[in-house]
Symmetry: C2
Subunit: 239 residues, 2 copies
DNA sequence: GTCTATATTTCGATAGAC
DNA sequence: GTCTATCGAAATATAGAC
């Protein structure tokens, strides 16, 4: 199976080798230039983190080698260890990045809007993230499946608070007769699982789609199907 | 993180050490006893495969060591290699086992029954499997997320045929006015993702449940919630 | 069939020249 | 800040005694 992965990666490496740019001018090399150095530092760190997200998603934490991350990033392996002391440090950064993106999307579940619009917007954003950040979703899924060794605190903290808060609003909607009486937790789980499925199981969906990725139209249809079924399922309708 | 996993495993190993039984009587050791030997062989193989499913689910393919599988199975590492030539061979067997179980459950989607009963039974069985075989579900999820290096043929073959067949029946129900007009593929994806979420993300659900696993009553409530929302969502009702 | 000892490979991480 | 060479640890797999 190792050979299989290497076959896959060689093409990714080739792809990544294209985007390299030269931003430095000719300057006296002995003179320290703090801003440019910081810029290059954050630039390389970003390269490494983007590569790492892809490699962790495809190979898992243990299967991801620093050599592979370096190849995908287009840097020598030693440079990766120059910017990040350990592989675990890279992994932590990747996982935290995804969590931040998701929590920002979670704020789109705006309970001021009323149930139909709040749920529609949240599902739309979650589906958009599954398309734009599929590898982030996969890394998150693997992290949770392995017992959340890194983000357990986040689960018990911010995620639990957010879920409790949104659950209370849903129960208020139910009490007001605005939607069906269902357990808010299971509604949230259904939204999370269904939307993230299009990222985590994207390979299976692509296979059942004849081996080709979804077109823009198919993504629109998927979003509408998900919203239609879930909203009608709780006594609402798509807005 | 390696240390984290080892901490987890030591408790599992201890648990597994309990169930050992002695089935052999005192017999002449030089005499070959085909049936008993075959029995012991398949017995140990079963021990290893059960341990491997757990280890692969928690640590991933690369993170799962044969030493750990041996410890969880309660056997010396060399014995594991005596029964299975390579780690990949163990992994293949684990993945195939899960696929067989799932395909058997898939036959519960009996289109002779009519839409409501067929969907209800299928969702019920998928939820039961998420509870009884959570680690199998996780191994499958990881396999697909990593590009299905082992079961790509199965995806393109039996799974695609099954999905196409059931999709045609759903479209017939729609044409007969028995349920809402929705894309069958997205309905199937919703059923798969939602039911498997209770296995794959079981750790997250447990955390949001106050750190304790679901009780029997909570599982029943979860099954009912999933069935209620999905069936109403496509114009049906739980039977 | 079981189990100890080990061969071989691979990977994470670092030293040190430039 | 970059990169070659390499150390040390860990893992797969096997050899060979029992």
């Amino acid at each position: 199976m190792t050979e299989f992965f290497l076959t896959i990666w060689s093409s990714i490496v080739a792809t990544c080798l294209i985007g390299q740019v030269f931003s430095g001018k000719n300057v006296v090399s002995t003179e320290p230039i703090p801003f440019r150095q910081t810029s290059k530092r954050s630039q390389n760190q970003k390269l490494i983190l983007e590569a790492a997200e892809k490699v962790f998603a495809e190979a898992g934490f243990a299967g991801a080698t620093t050599q592979l991350i370096a190849d995908v990033a287009g840097l020598p392996k030693a440079n990766v260890h120059y910017y990040f002391k350990t592989k675990e440090e890279i992994y932590r950064r990747v996982v935290y990045n995804i969590f931040d993106i998701w929590m920002e999307a979670a704020s789109a579940f705006d309970t001021e809007l009323g149930p139909s619009e709040a749920l529609c917007r949240y599902i739309d954003i979650k589906m958009d993230l599954s398309r734009s950040h599929p590898n982030g979703s996969r890394v998150w899924a693997a992290e949770v499946m392995h017992g959340a060794p890194i983000i357990q605190d986040y689960l018990e903290g911010r995620l639990k608070e957010w879920s409790t808060d949104r659950g209370l609003h849903i129960e208020r909607w139910i009490a007001n007769g605005e939607m069906d009486a269902i357990d808010p937790a299971h509604l949230l789980y259904m939204i999370w699982s269904t939307t993230q499925h299009y990222a985590d199981f994207g390979h299976q969906i692509e296979t059942l789609n004849g081996g080709v990725p979804y077109t823009d139209e198919q993504w629109q249809a998927a979003k509408l199907s998900v919203k239609t079924i879930i909203l009608k399922g709780v006594g609402l309708s798509v807005v």
